[in-house]
Amino acid sequence: MEINNISFSYDQKVDQLKSVQGEIPHGKITTIIGPNGCGKSTLLGVMSQNFAPRAGQIILDGKAIPAYKPKELAKKLAVVHQHNDAPSDLTVEKLTAFGRLPHKSLFSPNQEEDEQAVEWALTCTNLLDKRKLTIDQLSGGERQRVWIAMALAQKTSLLFLDEPTTYLDIFYQIELLELIRNLNERYGLTIVMVLHDINQAIRYSDNIMVMKNGELLMQGAAQEIITVELIKRIYGVDVLIKEDERTGLYIVPVGI
C-alpha cells in the first residue's frame, strides 16, 4: 500500500495531515507512533477510506482506494477501531460472523466458507470456548479479541488496528500483541497499527512510522531510526536507549 502525498483536514481550515508520503511494506508489521493529536489515527482512517483526503491518494494493489466498491475494499482490508459499539446481547459467534458481510451476495450464499472463516477467526483469537457468550459477559481483553476476530473473518491480507492495547492491563496488552505477531508470522498478514508505548512498538514491529504535527518524519526499522535525539524531538522527553540480549532495543525515560 502506498500513501501518496496525503493531506487531510476535518474542518477545511487546519490540516491534520500534511503531505504525508510513505509506504506500507507487504507482509510486515508497521506501527505508527507519535504524540497525542499528531494525526496517527487520522492517517489510519484515511488509509481505510473512513475519511476522504483533501489531496493525494492511497494506492492499494495498483488502484486508488475510492475506486474500490465498499465490499471489494472490505475483502482486502479490515479495521479494528479503538472504540466499538455493539448490542450487548450479541454473541461472540454472531459478531464475528458480521465479518463475512463482504463475501456475501444475495445469489451465491457460501455457507461452508463462511463457517470455516468464522471458525478460523475464533481459533486464532482463542475464543472458541466463548463463542456462545454475549458481548457483555466478556472481559475487556476478550472483547477486543472479538473485534479482531470479526476483522479476521473478513479474510483480508491487510489488518489495521487503532490503538488496540489502550484500556487493557499489561497481561492483555502482551497477549494481544503476541496474537498480532502470530497472525503476521503464520498467515502473512500485513499489519498496520497505532501504538502509544514506544517499547511495544520497537519490540513488535518491523517498520515504525514516526509522526508529529500531521507530518510523517521518518519510517524504518527500530534499530535504524530510534535515537535519543528523535525521541526528544517528537515527544520532548529525555530517554536512555539500551540494548539487551533478550529484549533487543529499549528505551527508559529519564526526564523532560
Binding site: L73, A74, K75, V79, D85, P87, D89, L90, F98, L101
Partner: protein, 327 residues
C-alpha cells in the same frame, strides 16, 4: 433461545385469540365457530354484517399496528436512538398534514391520500435528518429536532381543523384514529402497501444489525452506510405514512413495541422485526377492541387508549430496561 420461541408463540396465540374475540364481540354477537362457518358459506346474516363492518376494522387495526411497530424498529436502527418513533419525530404528523393540505386543496384526489401521506412523511424525515446532521448523526439531536418538526406539523395540521366543519369531515381520516367506518377499500390499500413495506423490512434486517455497530465499523465491513440508511428510512416512512393515511395519528406504538420486543427476543433484527410486527398488530387490535367495547355504545379511539397505556408503560420500561441504544 427458548425465551425467543416462547415469546413468539405467545404473541401468535394471543393474536389469534384477540382477533376472534374482537370479531365476535360488540353489538352483534356470534360464536367463533358460527363466524368461521358463516364466512365460508355466506348464509349467516349476522356474519355478513360483521364481514362488512367489523372485519375491515380488524384488518386495518392489525396492519396499522404492525406497520407502526416495524417503522419504529427501523427508525431506531437508522437513527441509533431508542426514542425514535414516527409519532415522536414528526413523520406521522408530516404525513397527516400534507394529506390534509392536498385533500383540502384538491378534494378529487382523495384516492391518492397514501401518496400524499408518503410525501409528507418523507418531507418530515428529510427535515429531521437535514436539520440534525452536523458531521454525523447524534441520537439526542435527532430526537430534539424531531420533536420540533413534530410540533410544527401537528400545529399546522390542527390549524386546518379550525377551518370549519367541511375540513373536519372531509379529512377526518388523516387526523384522528377512530377505526369505525373502515371499508374493504381501506383494507385493500393498507394490505397492499403494508405488505410491501413489511416484506421489504424483513430483507433489511441484516443492514439494521450492521448499523448497530459504529458507522465506520459498518463501512469497513463493506456496507454502503449512507445508502443503507436512506433505503431503511424510505421503508420506515412508507410504513408510517400508510398507517397514518388509513389509521390516523397513533403515538407510542413504534416506541413501546420495539422496547418490549427487545426485552423479550433480543436485538437481532432478524427476529426483532417479525416479532414487533406481530406484537404491534396485537397491541392496536387490543386497544381498538377495548375502545369499542368498554363503554359501548360510546367508542374510545385506539389512539387515546394507546396514549393512556403508553405513557405509564414507557416510564416503567425506561426505569427497568438497560438494553437501549445510546448509553
Amino acid at each position: 433461545m427458548n425465551k425467543k420461541v416462547l415469546s413468539m408463540a405467545v404473541v401468535i396465540v394471543l393474536l389469534i385469540v384477540v382477533t376472534l374475540v374482537s370479531a365476535t364481540t360488540g353489538s352483534i354477537k356470534v360464536g367463533s365457530l358460527d363466524l368461521i362457518q358463516g364466512l365460508f358459506t355466506g348464509t349467516n346474516k349476522s356474519v355478513q354484517i360483521i364481514k362488512d363492518l367489523r372485519l375491515p376494522r380488524i384488518i386495518v387495526s392489525l396492519f396499522v399496528g404492525a406497520a407502526l411497530a416495524v417503522a419504529g424498529v427501523l427508525l431506531q436502527a437508522v437513527m441509533r436512538s431508542s426514542l425514535a418513533d414516527s409519532g415522536v419525530i414528526g413523520i406521522s404528523s408530516g404525513a397527516g398534514f400534507i394529506s390534509i393540505l392536498f385533500v383540502t386543496l384538491f378534494p378529487k384526489l382523495f384516492f391518492w391520500l397514501p401518496v400524499f401521506a408518503f410525501l409528507g412523511g418523507a418531507l418530515a424525515c428529510f427535515l429531521v435528518y437535514a436539520l440534525s446532521w452536523k458531521a454525523g448523526l447524534s441520537p439526542i439531536r435527532i430526537i430534539l429536532v424531531g420533536i420540533a418538526v413534530n410540533a410544527t406539523f401537528t400545529g399546522l395540521g390542527q390549524s386546518f381543523n379550525y377551518r370549519g366543519s367541511y375540513a373536519v369531515t372531509q379529512v377526518n381520516q388523516a387526523t384522528t384514529s377512530i377505526f369505525t367506518m373502515k371499508t374493504w377499500t381501506d383494507v385493500e390499500v393498507i394490505v397492499t402497501y403494508g405488505t410491501i413495506g413489511l416484506i421489504l423490512s424483513l430483507f433489511l434486517s441484516s443492514w439494521c444489525n450492521l448499523l448497530s455497530l459504529q458507522d465506520k465499523s459498518a463501512q469497513n465491513l463493506g456496507l454502503h452506510v449512507a445508502r443503507a440508511r436512506l433505503i431503511i428510512s424510505i421503508v420506515a416512512v412508507l410504513l408510517s405514512a400508510i398507517a397514518t393515511a388509513i389509521g390516523g395519528l397513533i403515538a407510542f406504538v413504534g416506541l413501546l413495541v420495539p422496547h418490549i420486543a427487545r426485552l423479550l427476543v433480543g436485538s437481532d433484527h432478524k427476529i426483532l422485526i417479525p416479532f414487533s410486527a406481530l406484537a404491534g398488530a396485537l397491541l392496536i387490535l387490543s386497544a381498538d377492541t377495548l375502545g369499542r367495547t368498554v363503554l359501548a355504545p360510546t367508542e374510545i379511539p385506539a389512539s387515546i387508549i394507546m396514549t393512556v397505556i403508553g405513557g405509564p408503560f414507557l416510564i416503567f420500561l425506561i426505569r427497568k430496561s438497560d438494553r437501549m441504544y445510546g448509553n
